[in-house]
Each structure stands twice: as structure tokens, then as C-alpha cells.
Symmetry: C2
Subunit: 210 residues, 2 copies
DNA sequence: AAGTGTTTCACATCAATATGTGATGTAAGA
DNA sequence: TCTTACATCACATATTGATGTGAAACACTT
């Protein structure tokens, strides 16, 4: 028996979902609420397995509710429920520990399947959501993975620059003269197409050279 | 009719999958291969809708195959197929534009459903994989998002530093004297607990101040 | 009204950095 | 062998940066 709490501001939908889920074998709706004002206490009191959480709610919305829940409880599965698959909310929800993200237009049979999946540790997602998630991953990619052809020694020097070492310190650290350090740095600037330490350090981070 | 190419080094599994898929209505296996050596040419020649790609293959593996495909083709849907849901491969695959990631133990009916989902632009994932993906998201979270209490003006100066501006340039840019710039920078160093421009720039990136 | 933090400016000094020019030895490739 | 890239060192000089000390104007809070 999977125990469920439901958060949904629309009374009709709240009633409908409750009847659908509660009327199905193996599912029990413990309670339903129209907003997340007291979400922490409610979760504490009812100890559900799965929470169905609408995103758009007046007062405390679903994302905020999720955050509050996760401040106290990392066990309960939270399934986000929404009309739109807008990028920003999806990312926010997942980042804050949602266990799944499904659209309200999901057919009833599929919804029950998703709840079951969430309860057993899965991460059900409507396919359009999943597609977005994948897109976020590929967007993380470095545009062209620029290489700059830094030699090993040059990378080493750049690493020290990033750590805030002075030329003198780098020289001591690498057992070379300060002039050699200069020479390396000059070369690094050329290769990175920059002309100051700050830019080199910034570029090192941006392009994940270090 | 969904057209499919299959990459799988195990002959039994390759045959089995081919028969299963090709024998189902609406699915057609155009060809199957035991490695990705000529993946680019093969995709070009057969123009499939979906590619089922095993990860572990001798020679050119699935991840590498995926990369090669994506260098030329961003349209074809690539479904990664694997025995293990090991973190590293999942991330690599998704980062390189895989459209889905499913385990080989997926039951036949579910497999066909996943292929259909991929073909229609979805992103099918075995639930254990989806869980991992979500975990990666929540791990991306900034530890505590340190604040450092930089004033607006100080943030502005820091931003310029990151862009590689000299004190003189910052002064000109902000219509203040170079001494004021110095004063701001001094304060920034104090607040960030650093004592050089490079460290400040590095910290700005690390802690996402800029 | 006194205190606090921000923003602004000034003068001074020493350390560090950027840039140019030039040179040597070594290892890998064409 | 000749070339190229790398790593090393040297000398010179102008600019920039780090740090200290001091101070005035302003907004906001107590």
C-alpha cells in the first residue's frame, strides 16, 4: 500500500486525483491540501511514501514546498505535477531533490504507474520533461572544447597562477628561474589570446583548463 | 515504420534483439553491427530513425560511436543500451547527446515502447538511470552559495577584474579615480579573504559571484 | 544625534607584472 | 639533417598592483 499526500490548489482536480488514486488497489491518499503553507508539519504528521506536488499554487508554491520538505526529509518521494514543462521550473525542481516530474495531462493509468515507480526509488518523468533534462546535459558541454595546446609545463604554471601564486613563488615551486616563469606566462598569454593574468585565470576557469 | 540500426557485440543478443524488433509491427531493423568502426558511414548509408547502441563493445565502444555520430548527425535518435548503470558512462552518454539510456534487462514490450518513445522525440530512461540523472542535478547545487556581503559597487569592480581590466581601465569605466578603485579592491580582498587579483578572480568563479 | 557601512578621493612607497629582445640545449618529426 | 616546439635563462624598463594612512560625504539604523 503506497501512502500519498496531495498538494493541488484546484478543488476539482484535487478531488478527481484523490478519487482516482484512492480508488485504485494498492494506493491510499492520506490527505490533500490546497497549498504548502504547513507542508513540513503535514509531512511529519502523515508520513506518506509519495507526495504529489503541484507547481503552480497560490501562496507557497510547489518548488518552495519541495525545498521546505527537503530541509527536513530526504526520504519521502516528491513527484512534481504541472501543466507546463517550462525549463526553469523543471530545473529548479530537480535541483532541489524532486523524484520525478510529470505533466497533469498524463493519463490515469500512467499516473498510477509513475507513482509506483517513484515509491520504489525510480524517477518517473514525462518524456517531454526527460528530453529537456537531456538537453540541459548536452548544453553543459564546452562549446568546442577548446584546447589551446598548452604544454604540460605551461598548464602547470597556469595552475599556479590560478592559485594566486606570484612569479617568484611559482619559480620556487617549479625549481626554475623567475625569468623562465615569465617566458612560460608570455607563451600562455599568446596561446590563450589574452594579455593579463586576470584574463588568463578567468579563461582557465571558463574553458575548464584547470 | 520505425527504422532501426543495432550495434551490439554479443552475437546471441544481436540476433535476439533483431528478431524481437524486426518481428514486431511498425519496427524494421535495417542492419546490425558488432562494433562502431564504421558507424558514420553506416548511419549515412542506412539513414535509420533510431540507433540502439551497446556501450561495452571491443574496438570502438558505444560512447565513442555516439560521439562520432553526433559529429555529423544530430537528427538520428540514439538509445544507449547497457548492462550496468554506472555513473560515469551515463553522464558521458547524456553529455554527448544520447536520446535515452536503457538497461539490457528491460523486458521486450518495454523495449519496443522505449524505441517508439525515442523515435517520437522523447527521452526514455530506465528508472534506475533516471534516478541517477536526478542525483547529478541535485549534486550540482552550490554548497552554501557563500555571500561575502560584497556591496554593489564592489561586485562591479570584481566583475571588471574578472574581465581583465587594469585599475586604470576600471577607473575610467566606472567614472571614479584609480585610488577609489584601489580602495574597493582592498575591501574586496578583505571580504573574500584573499590577497591577490588572481585569487579574487578564481574565487569569483568558484563561488559564482560573477 | 551618534554610530555604521558604503562610496568616494588623495599621497606615498615598494613589490610585482608585462613586454621586448636575445640566447642555449634538447627532443621529436619531416 | 633541418625544422619546430619546448624549456630554460638573462637583462632592461615602463606599467601596474598591493598596502598603509587619512579623510570627507552620504544613507540608514538605533
Amino acid at each position: 500500500m503506497i501512502k500519498i499526500i496531495l498538494y493541488e490548489d484546484n478543488p476539482q482536480l484535487r478531488e478527481g486525483l484523490t478519487m482516482l488514486i484512492d480508488g485504485s488497489d494498492g494506493f491510499q491518499v492520506l490527505a490533500s491540501f490546497k497549498n504548502c503553507s504547513n507542508v513540513v508539519d503535514e509531512v511529519e504528521a502523515f508520513r506518506p511514501d509519495v507526495i504529489l506536488m503541484d507547481i503552480d499554487m497560490p501562496g507557497v508554491n510547489g518548488i518552495e514546498g519541495l525545498k521546505r520538505i527537503r530541509q527536513h526529509n530526504h526520504e519521502v518521494k516528491v513527484l512534481m505535477l504541472t501543466v507546463f514543462d517550462d525549463n526553469k521550473n523543471v530545473f529548479e525542481a530537480l535541483k532541489n531533490g524532486a523524484n520525478g516530474y510529470i505533466l497533469k495531462k498524463t493519463p490515469p493509468a500512467k499516473l498510477l504507474e509513475y507513482i509506483t515507480e517513484a515509491a520504489s526509488g525510480g524517477a518517473p518523468m514525462t518524456s517531454s520533461i526527460a528530453t529537456q533534462v537531456l538537453k540541459m546535459f548536452s548544453e553543459v558541454q564546452v562549446p568546442a572544447g577548446e584546447d589551446y595546446n598548452l604544454s604540460d609545463r605551461e598548464k602547470e604554471v597556469l595552475q599556479h597562477l590560478v592559485n594566486g601564486f606570484s612569479y617568484k613563488m611559482i619559480a620556487a615551486e617549479m625549481f626554475i628561474s623567475i625569468d623562465t616563469v615569465r617566458s612560460h606566462i608570455k607563451k600562455i598569454y599568446e596561446k590563450l589570446h589574452v594579455n593579463s593574468k586576470s584574463e588568463a585565470v578567468a579563461k582557465a576557469f571558463k574553458d575548464k583548463i584547470v
